[in-house]
């Protein structure tokens, strides 16, 4: 291809400088919107913006073309400043067909831009989307800037010299669109060209046609006869120097587990049963065999956790992973792991419930299940990740705590985090502190429930070790020998010991800090998990408005950091925004007897910054 794809100049156009923008690409499941979005993300990351993304898939694998429920969307928020969320509402909406317009137009900011492929607005598609007449022909789009382009036709023209079927040709239209958008924001095409050439290595004609479409879209921008086709410049973000990549929560979590196991000097048995949106963690780890990771797709979730516990019994790090309904199935076995005090990590990529619920939508409604969802008093450690890159950190921390305290750790992620991407300053792997496990080998005075007097962790004695043969199980064990014991006082003692061990984790984790705002004052927003970005941004915006408010983000959900009670007591009001009906708020109220109040949202969608900001405004009014 003779066209130079590397220089993102905007010849002949005056680029307007803006600080940040939110773009949503929307089209049919078959239109390749996720690819368009991730390629745009890649180019934007390489350009040097900070960014956050939100891919939003339909529940159906491949819904019939043109239907509203088959619409797939990808939103990216990027800019010069710190980008915390994928954006409340798009500034720009790119729609590839009427259904995509129908589903998404309601979200577009008033005055925002909508780019429409008019070529897809035929009668049949309009009807499928439920339009009686074309919205392009009435004034329903009046509040917006509409850029009508026959992308379909222009794509076909761009690729007509290639030997493709007409279906194949039309499939290139997402790259035409991408080309145009890359031009519009002055981004480089080189990475996409490279990606296409690699992806379609065995079918170069497909690669070349897509590159041609990409370039044609770009060229269309350059030479656009349309005066209303503005171009923008979103300057690089000022971020710490170093080597970056984009990372999704899933990747970071998988790699974090590996890095943690590496620090613990352990191999991993990762046993799981597929379930949306948790399966990609399994897929990520399945590719890491050479790193000492064995993955096992079990016959169900129960078998998966049991195999993981078996692996931990054998001296490997057992990990299992699922989403809400699958986690529910693991409760009984989790109780066993707690009772026999073996390290285990249970990853829960939460989704919207109850029951099957909205499997592809996000929610953080499994906190109570994590903390309490088993028979009897069976305490464990619960952590949650805040952002895609934080998944890496929390996964390492999960391994550290599981092995140090010989305990199951529940690590909470969610559907939003799992799929969202952000730029990541790649950590220095050699700087991760080592925390090698030490197995018991000495038969002298051995019994399996010998405890470290400080952590109360029991010894880890793995089969294969001469002289340490022992039997464990879910019946109550004698404190002093590990044998079965029905003694009433021993049961009391063991219950207290298990509780004390987990409570003691509070002394092994960093004290809770305030992320933004004063250490005490009128109002604190306490959050956990993937609401981090939205809360953080809202609190910053509130500061800009002169409102005094603090953001406290909890990574440790059970036990809480030792100072949390005192910290929260320093605020007149505590608001707990959660994507559930109010779960953390229940635990905080119960533990600390503070009148914390919930701010809940259960639409299957992340919080908007504005929703939280509004609450801050009204609550700070309350205080004043």
């Amino acid at each position: 291809m003779g066209v130079d794809t590397t220089t993102p100049t905007a010849t002949g156009t005056d680029r307007e400088q803006i600080e940040s923008v939110v773009i949503r690409f929307a089209g049919d499941s078959g239109d390749g919107m996720q690819i368009t979005g991730s390629q745009f993300t890649q180019a934007t990351a390489l350009f040097g913006n900070d960014l956050a993304t939100f891919p939003d898939f339909p529940a159906e694998i491949r819904a019939p073309a043109g239907t509203t429920y088959g619409v797939s969307a990808f939103q990216i928020h990027f800019g010069t400043l710190n980008i915390q969320t994928s954006g409340d509402a798009p500034d720009v909406l790119v729609v590839m067909n009427p259904a995509a317009l129908k589903v998404n137009i309601g979200d577009l900011k008033v005055g925002g831009t909508v780019v429409v492929d008019t070529g897809a607005f035929q009668k049949r598609n309009l009807a499928k989307a439920g339009y009686d007449k074309s919205p392009l022909e009435d004034d329903s789009l009046a509040p917006f800037q509409v850029i009508e382009l026959d992308i379909s036709k222009r794509t076909l023209q761009a690729v007509e010299t290639f030997d493709l079927t007409s279906k194949e040709s039309l499939r290139c239209k997402n790259f035409w669109t991408l080309g145009l958008m890359l031009w519009m924001y002055g981004r480089d095409r080189a990475a996409t060209v490279e990606w296409l050439q690699e992806k379609f290595a065995t079918r170069p004609e497909i690669a070349n046609a897509n590159v041609a479409a990409l370039n044609a879209g770009h060229a269309y921008g350059e030479t656009a006869e349309l005066s209303h086709l503005a171009a923008y410049n979103v300057p690089k973000a000022h971020v710490a120097p170093g080597l970056y990549r984009t990372v999704t929560g899933t990747e970071a979590l998988g790699w974090g587990l590996l890095a943690g196991a590496n620090a613990a000097h352990l191999e991993i048995l990762f046993a799981s049963y597929p379930i949306t949106p948790a399966s990609p963690v399994l897929h990520t780890l399945a590719r890491l065999r050479a790193y000492g990771v064995t993955t096992f797709q079990a016959e169900d979730e129960i078998a998966a956790i049991c195999a993981a516990i078996g692996a931990s019994f054998a001296g490997t790090l057992g990990i299992t992973s699922s989403s809400g309904p699958g986690i529910a199935l693991k409760g009984e076995a989790l109780g066993l792991a707690i009772s026999i005090e073996l390290p285990l990590i249970v990853v829960n990529t939460q989704r919207a419930g109850p029951s099957t619920g909205l499997p592809t939508k996000t929610e953080q409604s499994d906190l109570l299940q994590a903390v309490y969802g088993r028979n009897a008093d069976a305490p464990l450690v619960v952590l949650a990740s805040a952002t895609p890159s934080d998944c890496f950190e929390t996964a390492i921390e999960a391994v550290r705590l599981a092995t140090k305290f010989m305990t199951p750790v529940m690590l909470l992620s969610d559907g939003y985090l799992a799929n969202a991407a952000e730029p990541w300053l790649i950590p220095d792997a050699s700087a991760i502190p080592d925390f090698p496990v030490s197995y018991r080998t000495d038969p002298k005075d051995f019994h399996p429930f010998l405890r470290d007097p400080e952590t109360l962790a029991r010894v880890w004695a793995k089969p294969g070790t001469p002289g340490l043969e022992h039997r464990i199980g879910g019946l109550e064990k004698d404190y002093d020998s590990g044998n079965i014991s029905y003694d009433p006082d021993n049961h009391q003692r063991m219950m207290e010991t298990r509780a004390a061990k987990i409570a003691g984790v509070a002394n092994d984790i960093p004290p809770q800090t305030v992320n933004v705002g004063p250490e005490h004052g009128r109002l604190a927003l306490v959050g956990w998990g993937s609401t981090f970005g939205a809360i953080n941004q809202a609190v910053r915006n509130a500061h800009d408005e002169g409102i005094e408010v603090s953001h406290i983000h909890l990574r440790y959900l059970w036990p809480f950091p030792a100072n949390l009670g005192v910290l929260l007591a320093g605020f007149e009001q505590v608001i707990v925004p959660e994507m559930n009906m109010g779960q953390l708020v229940k635990i905080l109220r119960s533990e600390y007897l503070i009148p914390a109040e919930p701010l809940t949202k259960v639409t299957g969608k992340p919080f908007k910054v504005s929703e939280i900001l509004e609450t801050i405004r009204s609550k700070s009014g309350d205080c004043a």
Partner: protein, 341 residues
């Protein structure tokens, strides 16, 4: 606690210091003794041996062994064992389970460990009853079993443990009897020798809740006529002086019949020869039942194929990437960019 030495181990060396707590007269005692003796005969290392069980009377077994042991939860022993074996293929793993544990709540894990051919020995103590929960009927209980949950008798047809194991793709399927110590020992030896999932059903008498369930073919006076001891390559003879045999009824489309040697000109040559590599034959003889037929005992089927562990090992690269530098390269794989300082 047993420290490995070079001295020859005896059955006693495989007994733990815990008191055995089954009901007096329970068939489990005989199986325990036999397993301990068999391990001594095999001279296995107790520290490399793991007994894994679910929940039930049978499942208390691991506590009585001096090896490693894991008394897990009801029905899930095969899943735990799969994890243990996958984590450490060097370990020699025995699963001890009951008919409820293996075939009721645990049926799914059982069929999948067989299908995957994980290299373990599975010993199912079939007493045709839920012992530990005080006598409810189980999936192997015969129709009409009166039990606390079926005061008028159960209405369900029992499942055949061996037929299910064969149907699930098990590669080693055998049967024995608690009190037939020699036969049981031989069968356990064979199971141990087989690489892959070895499934052994042991008819076990629950003296309290289902006494004499197998008496019609295990008690001395009737055993000869009602047990068919299988040997690979040998004709299926049984009865006093091996006077009877089993053959395919002529023109029958695969049905068996019992014949008497010498009657109607029948000789040993007419008798079906046991081929333990023949899954169909195993399926046929697994269903034989008194009074018409004897119960087939021994190795019904043994046709090894690569184990789950073998295949995993064969497929996988060895773990070569152990260093922090390897982790670093993984994190840096794919597209990256540098922000200058």
């Amino acid at each position: 606690m047993t420290v490995a030495t070079n001295e020859k181990k005896t059955a006693k060396d495989f007994a733990s210091d815990q008191e055995v707590r089954w009901c007096p007269g329970c068939g489990d005692y005989a199986i325990l003794k036999c397993v301990q003796r068999t391990l001594a005969d095999l001279q296995v290392e107790s520290h490399n041996t793991v007994f894994v069980s679910g929940i039930g009377c049978a499942a208390r077994f691991p506590y009585y062994m001096s090896t490693y042991g894991f008394h897990t939860i009801h029905g899930r022993a095969p899943a735990f064992a799969t994890g243990i074996k996958t984590a450490n293929p060097e370990l020699d793993i025995w699963i001890i389970t009951g008919d409820g544990d293996a075939l009721s709540i645990g049926g799914n894990h059982m069929i999948h460990i067989l299908r995957r051919n994980v290299d373990v020995q599975i010993v199912l103590f079939n007493n045709e009853i839920y012992g530990l929960t005080k006598g409810q009927y189980s999936p192997t209980s015969r129709r009409g079993t009166r039990s606390p949950s079926t005061p008028k008798g159960s209405v369900e047809s029992p499942i055949s443990a061996t037929n299910l194991a064969l149907g699930a793709g098990g590669r080693f399927v055998a049967r024995s009897i608690d009190t037939s110590q020699k036969h049981l020992a031989q069968t356990l030896m064979r199971a141990h020798a087989h690489r892959g999932a070895s499934f052994v059903e042991v008819f076990q008498n629950c003296i309290v809740f289902n006494d004499k369930a197998f008496a019609h073919f295990t008690e001395k006076p009737v055993a000869g006529n009602n047990q068919l001891h299988l040997e690979h390559g040998k004709p299926m003879l049984f009865g006093a002086d091996n006077s009877k045999g089993v053959r395919i009824r002529e023109g029958s489309n695969l049905a068996l019949e019992v014949v008497t040697i010498g009657e109607n000109g029948i000789t040993d040559a007419d008798i079906l020869v046991h081929d333990e590599k023949n899954r169909i034959m195993a399926t046929l003889i697994a269903s034989l039942e008194p009074p018409e037929f004897p119960v087939a005992i021994g190795v019904l089927y043994c046709d090894p194929k690569p184990t789950f562990g073998d295949e995993l090992t064969q497929q996988a690269e060895p773990t070569t990437k152990r260093s922090r530098a390897d982790i670093q390269s993984l994190l840096e794989s794919g597209r990256t960019w540098t922000v200058a300082g």
